[in-house]
């Protein structure tokens, strides 16, 4: 509908001056609402209508052109000569200089400055004010800082069912990789779903293992070849030995045949020193020590049965739990047994029976760790039941030093490769102890609660600073030991060797005294037997008679001792 208002204007009035005048309002148009028009529309209720009160803005990004800056030095070549002097001309410069020298202010200021200067020069010549005093006094470092260790990383078993870490081995070259053997040693605990894999971790990356090792049965122990860092040898739960080449992938390169391997889990496998670098030997609780050449794992190269009666009888053999081999003493090796006895053997003997040289008894339970001191190979450390003991090879009766009984039993130990007097032990309550026997013999120098579960294994890296411990729930914790405990102190070797000698001597004296007593005892009892009438055969006494005899001997000895003392006092 168009609304139009029409007005007319005469042509002759166009352009004439407007004469405005007032006039009352006039209704021009009145539009009334037409309801019928509303039917053409559909009401819409409710209605959303957005309203904005802000002004429109737009976002732009601006990048200025890069301003390149360069740092460089300026070499001052020639001074600020005044305009009239040409620096090239020598004459002009000389003339300028002479003019300056004649200047009054120059003379006075130079005279004044030189007096000050002379004073300082003389001072320098008189005394060297920057002389270093107390140069010989060495800095007191580290020895006062309290021992500490920091956890750097924790590597967790990625599987659902957690297995315990029973073996750890550091990569020989860089120490950046750690191989861990996962298995469950508890009786009938492993479920069918339990994964068989073991892992190699890169210490920088705790999220995922760097490489997986897929054996046929869970691994109990594993070891990197110190000569070739790509080769690993490992012993499994079912007694088989397998070896891996990390360049070739996760599957073992070769596995030993079941018939020829151990009958019990392989607890320890150690590389030997040989020309080919492929010899290793393994120990297991079935009482055998087997030598292998990794190139041909179908059959062991040699076999030794740990029968102390030297008859090779498997039924009487002692189960082996730990092995010790030191490349500085390649002809000997030692085995730690389940029965608490350390057996020392020589590698090359004419008959297998002659391999066993001697035994050391001292522990009440299985010897979980056995290691020679890297600096003093004649002394070795054993760990079993609730104590750690240090032995000297020459003294077979008892250990020369031992810790007191701890609250929980010790599961693994090793010497520090850099400090001869430091060794580490791990316990079944999750505590890592660092012992410094030069500092304190009664208690550990540093005791750390690593985790809540039991710690099963321990391995120190060659630099002595990084320690890895494996727990029962499959967590490997990497710790950094403070520098005080991982740097060789002055005089440490001498002090420690003196300590070992002292203890060895003490034990020797005790041993000889013991022997003397036994000898005296025997000679007296022989004399006594000669006097006896009747044909009571030697050695055939009933237990009661034995007891009676022992009592008599004891009381007579006590009486003798008392008499001797009273003689001395008197």
């Amino acid at each position: 509908m168009e609304i139009v208002h029409v007005y007319t204007k005469l042509r002759r009035e166009l352009g004439r001056q407007c004469l405005f005048s007032d006039r009352p309002a006039e209704l021009l148009l009145d539009l009334l609402p037409d309801p019928s028009l509303g039917l053409e529309f559909i009401p819409k209720n409710p209605r959303d209508q957005a309203q904005g009160m802000d002004c429109d803005m737009s976002v732009h990004q601006v990048n200025t052109e890069r301003f390149h800056t360069n740092s460089c030095g300026i070499n001052h070549v020639e001074g600020g000569w005044p305009k009239e002097v040409n620096p090239e001309e020598i004459e002009q410069t000389i003339r300028f200089r002479k003019k300056v020298e004649k200047n009054e202010s120059y003379i006075s200021s130079i005279l004044q400055l030189s007096s000050v200067m002379e004073h300082c020069i003389r001072q320098n010549n008189a005394v060297d004010i920057y002389q270093e005093y107390l140069e010989d006094e060495e800095e007191v470092e580290g020895s006062q800082e309290s021992p500490s260790a920091k956890t750097i990383n924790v590597f967790r078993d990625p599987n659902e069912v957690k297995r315990s870490i029973n073996g750890l081995s550091w990569h020989p070259d860089s120490g950046r990789k750690l191989a861990a053997a996962y298995s469950c040693l508890e009786f009938q605990k492993p479920s069918k779903d339990m994964s068989l894999d073991s892992y190699i971790w890169d210490i920088e990356n705790p999220d995922r293992p760097e490489m997986t090792l897929k054996p046929t049965s869970p691994l109990i122990c594993l070891n990197y070849n110190p000569k070739d860092p790509h080769i690993l040898v490992a012993g499994g739960f079912n007694g088989q030995i397998a070896y891996w080449d990390t360049r070739r992938g996760s599957q073992p390169v070769e596995i030993s045949s079941v018939e020829q391997s151990h009958r019990d889990p392989v607890y320890k496998i150690v590389w030997l020193q040989s020309k080919t670098g492929t010899a290793a030997f393994s120990a297991s609780t079935d009482g055998q020590i087997l030598w292998w050449d990794v190139r041909k794992l179908s059959q062991p190269t040699e076999r030794l049965v740990l029968d102390l009666g030297r008859e090779g009888d498997l039924n009487r053999a002692l189960g082996a739990i730990s092995l010790e081999f030191e490349s500085t003493m390649p002809t000997k090796f030692m085995v730690g047994t389940e029965q608490g006895v350390v057996v020392s053997c020589i590698r090359k003997a004419k008959t297998p029976a002659e391999k066993i040289v001697c035994t050391y008894e001292g522990h009440h339970g299985p010897i979980y760790a056995l290691q020679r001191n890297p600096f003093f190979p004649k002394n070795f450390l054993t760990v079993g039941d609730w104590t750690a003991r240090i032995w000297s090879e020459d003294i077979k009766e008892s250990s020369i030093m031992w810790t007191k009984y701890q609250s929980s039993f010790l599961t693994d130990a090793c010497w520090s490769p850099v400090r001869p007097s430091v060794f580490f032990t791990v316990k079944s309550d999750g505590v890592l102890d660092v012992w410094d026997i030069l500092l304190k013999q009664n208690s550990p120098t540093l005791s750390l609660q690593v985790c809540d579960q039991a710690l099963n294994s321990l391995c120190v890296q060659d630099n002595g600073r990084l320690v890895a411990c494996g727990s029962q729930q499959g967590e490997a914790t990497l710790l950094d030991i403070c520098s005080g405990l991982s740097t060789l102190q002055k005089n440490e070797k001498n002090l420690l060797s003196a300590m070992f000698e002292h203890e060895t001597k003490r034990e020797k004296i005790l041993e000889t005294r013991q022997r003397e007593i036994l000898l005296k005892e025997r000679s007296r009892s022989e004399q006594g037997k000669e006097e006896e009438e009747g044909g009571q055969e030697e050695g055939e006494e009933t237990p009661e008679e034995l007891i009676v005899r022992a009592e008599n001997d004891f009381s007579s000895m006590g009486g003798m001792e008392q008499r001797r003392r009273t003689e001395e006092d008197g």
């Binding site: 070499n75 001052h76 070549v77 020639e78 001074g79 600020g80 000569w81 005044p82 300028f96 200089r97 300056v100 020298e101 004649k102 202010s105 120059y106 003379i107 200021s109 130079i110 005279l111 004044q112 400055l113 030189s114 000050v116 200067m117 002379e118 300082c120 020069i121 003389r122 320098n124 010549n125 060297d128 920057y130």
Partner: protein, 96 residues
């Protein structure tokens, strides 16, 4: 004039003194006992250093002023006595 010469000779005669340079406020070496290239190098570099040192001292306390500057290095000691218009620089190798 002669006194200046005498003074400088006396300084030069002191034990360990390796060289003397007198530089004016514009960085021109007026008098020197070293060769030209070292002189020019010393003059330029030390001039900047003295300016910086002086401004530092005055920034910390405006009433203060730089009276002497000593730079001890491994091989020798450079001593600078600044003035309004001139610097006197002496390089000494202290005894022992």
């Amino acid at each position: 004039m002669a006194e200046v010469e005498e003074t400088l000779k006396r300084i030069q005669g002191q034990k360990g003194v390796q060289g003397i340079i007198i530089v004016n406020s514009e960085g021109i070496p007026v008098k020197t006992t070293l060769d030209n290239s070292s002189t020019v190098q010393y003059a330029g570099l030390i001039h900047q250093l003295v300016m910086k040192a002086r401004s530092t001292v005055r920034d910390i306390d405006p009433q203060n002023d730089l009276t002497f500057l000593r730079i001890r290095s491994k091989k020798n000691e450079i001593m600078i006595a600044p003035d309004k218009d001139y610097f006197l620089i002496v390089i000494q190798n202290p005894s022992d």
